[in-house]
Subunit: 198 residues, 2 copies
């Protein structure tokens, strides 16, 4: 279904509201009625765009996968140098500091809550994490090609180390409400990447 | 309320069932009726031990906090040498491999699902993570005292780096259903700890 520009804006407004509510209250704590109210749209309008809560959640995941790796940041350049990776880590830590540890990564919440339960949603989450991993993988690949990283650097391992650090940091920072876990996790992962420096 | 030995065994059976169901289906996907059936107890019996679903969940968290850091492992010795830390990491990776990435850490699921929502549960989770962090902190402290780690090793940072690696690895392994994220996260975190070796 092709949407008009106005329709597209309404759909985005609904997704914005759903993303924020899920990050704050989890999927189970968010009803379509909450989303409808927060977005300021009528019930029939919401169901015009998303015919079920599950369709809405899948759209949140898909859109989150296209977001830059750090919430609140504008478009992110290529992560293809130690400086760019450090800037990315600093932005993630600052995001947690700014929000008192309530950083807004709804994917972390979604993976914790839905990962084990719902097969279709799990596949969407795999695609989302896969897209983020490949952003890191591409940047590290460029660094290896350029000679910044030694040939034995394992791009799969290093990109996973950075992504798990971001997710583990996010999960603990969210629970403990301080940025310390995010800072420790990303410092360790980046140091590991640097240990393969040429 | 002091429990008889039989009462204690019934309570443990209920908690076993609840822990397993939550790890598999999340909190929202687990009803007290599911727990009652899986534990094979009557409804009035369940409410004798836990007067609400929330009381049951809090007891799951408290008990999980007392479990060894890697599910499925018997009592864990002190994590106070590089060998002991490596054995701990290997056990966590093997646990994920054995379960095809469906490792059974219900705390990861609980933190993802409830961390942002429920203040009392969040505090229980903080205590649980705090206890795990202090196990790591104690072990690393002994290593620094013995001279295995250099004096400038920051025990708070290193223990958080290991704990976030465990949680991030668990979250991603659970979603992607492979042990690769757990292996990458713990390899990176342990390498960071080793970089402070004397």
């Amino acid at each position: 279904m092709a949407l008009t520009r106005k329709g597209q804006a309404t759909r985005e407004r609904i997704l914005d509201a759903a993303t924020e509510l899920i990050a704050q209250h989890g999927v189970a704590g968010t009803s379509t009625e909450d989303v409808r109210k927060a977005a300021g749209v009528g019930g029939s309008q919401l169901y015009h765009y998303f015919d079920s809560k599950q369709a809405l959640i899948r759209a949140v995941i898909t859109r989150q996968a296209e977001a830059p790796l750090v919430p609140g940041q504008p478009v992110m350049g290529a992560l293809d140098s130690f400086d760019a990776l450090q800037a990315w880590a600093d932005a993630a830590i600052e995001n947690q500091e700014h929000h008192g540890g309530r950083g807004e990564c709804s994917l972390t919440t979604l993976a914790g809550e839905l990962g084990p339960t719902d097969e279709q949603t799990r596949e969407d989450l795999c695609n989302a994490f896969g897209r983020w991993q490949s952003l890191l993988h591409d940047g590290l690949g460029a660094m290896r090609e350029r000679g910044d990283l030694r040939p034995e650097a394992d791009l799969d391992e290093l990109s996973l180390a950075l992504l798990t650090a971001l997710q583990g940091g996010s999960l603990l920072s969210q629970t403990l409400r301080t940025a310390d876990p995010m800072r420790a996790s990303l410092t360790a992962a980046l140091a590991y990447v640097r240990s393969f420096g040429a």
